[in-house]
């Protein structure tokens, strides 16, 4: 890997043009995705801790299970999303008669994850400030018999002012860094699937825009 990370972030076209001359390798992309997974796991540790506090009253010891599940879920989920994003964009590129292996697409999509690593880490740092201010409702064991009460408790947690503010900030940061990733992915798809800039932009832009609109919708209905 002779290309600088600066090139990847600022001049992705040049980065991928050079990368095409090298043998396909998932080592560095996997490390980037792993870094993103670790950042996601750290953020998940904080959020999972809140959910654990919420449910700990119903079943003592539940908080540890939830935190562990959230951390593992964030770590594994990042790798799954990597494959899913690559698969979706690879599938879209068939519409534009793209040529190239899925492995190369997966490699370049992995590189494009780098801005999201920064974004997730920044979100984690901000969350460190917000989490102590979030009020977690306390549930008694009797709430286990009342699903409505549990739903209300989760709603209350999500509607906590600090929690809502954190969610909105996290959404904006995720969106900004996802668009940065999308920018990289467009150049990646252009080279990995031998597409025109316009077709590559559509291959990446359509799923990314749909995903961002879904994020905005989720925040709006929260």
């Amino acid at each position: 890997m002779n290309h600088s990370i600066i090139d990847l972030l600022i001049r992705p076209g040049a980065f991928f043009q050079n990368a095409m001359n090298e043998k396909e390798s998932l080592k560095f992309p996997a490390l980037i995705v792993l870094a993103g997974g670790i950042a996601g796991a750290l953020y998940g540790y904080l959020i999972g801790g809140l959910t654990g506090q919420l449910l700990n009253g119903i079943m003592p010891g539940m908080d540890s299970i939830i935190v562990l599940t959230t951390v593992i879920g964030a770590l594994v989920g990042t790798f799954i999303f990597w494959v899913v994003w690559a698969g979706v964009m690879y599938a879209f590129s068939f519409v534009f008669k793209g040529q190239g292996t899925f492995r190369r697409t997966l490699e370049f999509v992995g590189y494009g994850y780098l801005p999201q690593v920064f974004g997730t880490f920044i979100t984690f740092v901000i969350a460190l400030d917000y989490i102590p201010r979030i009020h977690v409702p306390q549930l008694s064991a009797a709430a286990a018999q009342n699903p409505e009460l549990l739903t209300e408790a989760v709603k209350a947690l999500m509607h906590d002012p600090a929690m809502m503010e954190l969610s909105q900030i996290a959404m904006i940061i995720s969106m900004v860094f996802l668009l940065w990733s999308a920018n990289i992915w467009i150049f990646g798809m252009q080279h990995s699937r031998k597409l025109s800039p316009r077709d590559a932009a559509l291959c990446v832009g359509i799923p990314v825009v749909v995903y961002i609109l879904y994020m905005v919708y989720s925040i709006a209905v929260m």
């Binding site: 409702p137 306390q138 009460l149 209350a156 904006i172 668009l179 925040i219």
Partner: protein, 387 residues
């Protein structure tokens, strides 16, 4: 023949003498003087004053005032009156009153007249002299003893013990005895239910106090039983027991109620002021269905509140799909009777307030702007790339 006639005359005289032997003697100047020293030393009626129809006794004490050996032979003693009627004739046979002795003559009588003073005549018929007549004085009075309610509560409350202050007075001229006050009524618990007063002299009065706990509006029956002599009499009184608001009772009022919601768990805080004139003991606040009380304040015990005193409370409960939740306030009076009052507290508005965070307009606009900037930038880039 004349001898036979003489003997017959003797027999006839003896026979006649035998027939009147107990009622007629031989009056001599000495026996007449001796009879003059016999007198009625006292005459007593029991009861002293009759009710019309009462039965009683007249006891006449006769004293033989002769100091020597002269005894007095009495043929019979009677009592004559058409108002105070003697219902027995125990002294129709002769008897003797020794010198200096006293003898009691007791007659059972019935007062057969209305109110008034009457003079039955006691007569004593001597064997050896004329009769002794003595006018007794008997009174008949149809005045019962008086039961008076001195003080009673303005109103009664279900299950609450209240004290009634009564008085029994004797306006009669004689003493009545064995006075007992009976207190009864449907759905009433009286303490005590039977009060023994005993004797009451003329013009005397005695207080009788009792407590009444009523479970329903009813009449309180008060019956005073007493004896005039040996004649039972009663005085009845009905006292209506009506329920109403006790003007003095404790009146805890809930105010300054604040509702906070936290994950379907509502926290209601407020103050309880005692606006009554009596102490409210063991004041407690809790939530009722559809609310489900939750820890830590399923029930809040405020404690005792004196008049014009106040205390704070906090209750926690879960409630879903409801606009109002009833809060129950309970307290006890000094007798331990429990009183409840329920106040509805609106919770939906607060719930709505909590949820009415609205759309996060700024983040959405920001997100769309960034997205539009990104798309616009790429459109411009692609146009330049084509050229």
């Amino acid at each position: 023949m004349s001898q036979i006639r003489f003997i017959s005359l003797i027999c006839l005289v003896l026979l006649a003498g035998a027939m009147v032997g107990v009622v007629a003697g031989y009056s001599t100047p000495e026996s007449i003087v001796a009879a003059g020293k016999v007198y009625v030393s006292s005459a007593t009626y029991d009861p002293a004053v009759f009710f019309p129809g009462d039965k009683g006794t007249l006891t006449v004490e006769v004293t033989n005032g002769n100091e020597n050996d002269t005894g007095i032979v009495v043929n019979h003693a009677t009592l004559s009156s058409d108002k105070i009627i003697s219902i027995s004739r125990p002294y129709d046979s002769s008897s003797n009153i020794g010198p200096g002795q006293k003898k009691l003559y007791t007659f059972s009588v019935t007062a057969d007249a209305s109110d008034g003073t009457y003079y039955p005549t006691f007569s004593l018929d001597f064997r050896d002299a004329d009769s002794l007549y003595y006018r007794t004085i008997a009174k008949i009075e149809d005045t019962p003893i008086v039961l008076t309610i001195v003080d009673q509560p303005d109103t009664f409350t279900q299950g609450k013990k209240k004290t009634i202050y009564a008085q029994v007075a004797n306006p009669r001229e004689n003493t009545v005895k064995n006075i007992i006050l009976d207190v009864s009524g449907s759905g009433i618990t009286a303490t005590p239910s039977k009060i023994f007063v005993g004797e009451l002299t003329p013009g005397a009065k005695v207080p009788v106090n009792f407590s009444v706990t009523a479970d329903q509006p009813t009449n309180l029956h008060l019956v005073v039983n007493y004896d005039n002599g040996d004649n039972p009499h009663t005085v009845n009184m009905d006292l209506p027991i009506t329920f109403g608001v006790d003007k003095k009772q404790a009146n805890p009022v809930m105010s300054n109620v604040l509702v906070k919601s936290d994950a379907g768990i509502y926290h209601i805080t407020g103050d309880i002021n005692n606006a009554g004139l009596e102490t409210a003991n063991t004041v407690m606040v809790t939530s009722l269905s559809p609310a489900v009380p939750q820890d830590p304040y399923k029930t809040y015990v405020v404690g005792a509140l004196k008049p014009d005193d106040f205390g704070s409370f906090e209750v926690t409960f879960a409630a879903t799909n409801t606009e109002t939740v009833p809060l129950q306030l309970t307290y006890k009076d000094t007798d331990g009777n429990v009183y409840n009052s329920v106040q509805d507290v609106k919770v939906s508005a607060n719930n709505a307030d909590q949820k009415s965070t609205g759309l996060p307009i700024i983040p959405i606009i920001g997100a769309i702007a960034i997205l539009a900037l990104f798309i616009g930038g790429w459109i411009v880039y692609l146009k330049k790339y084509k050229q």
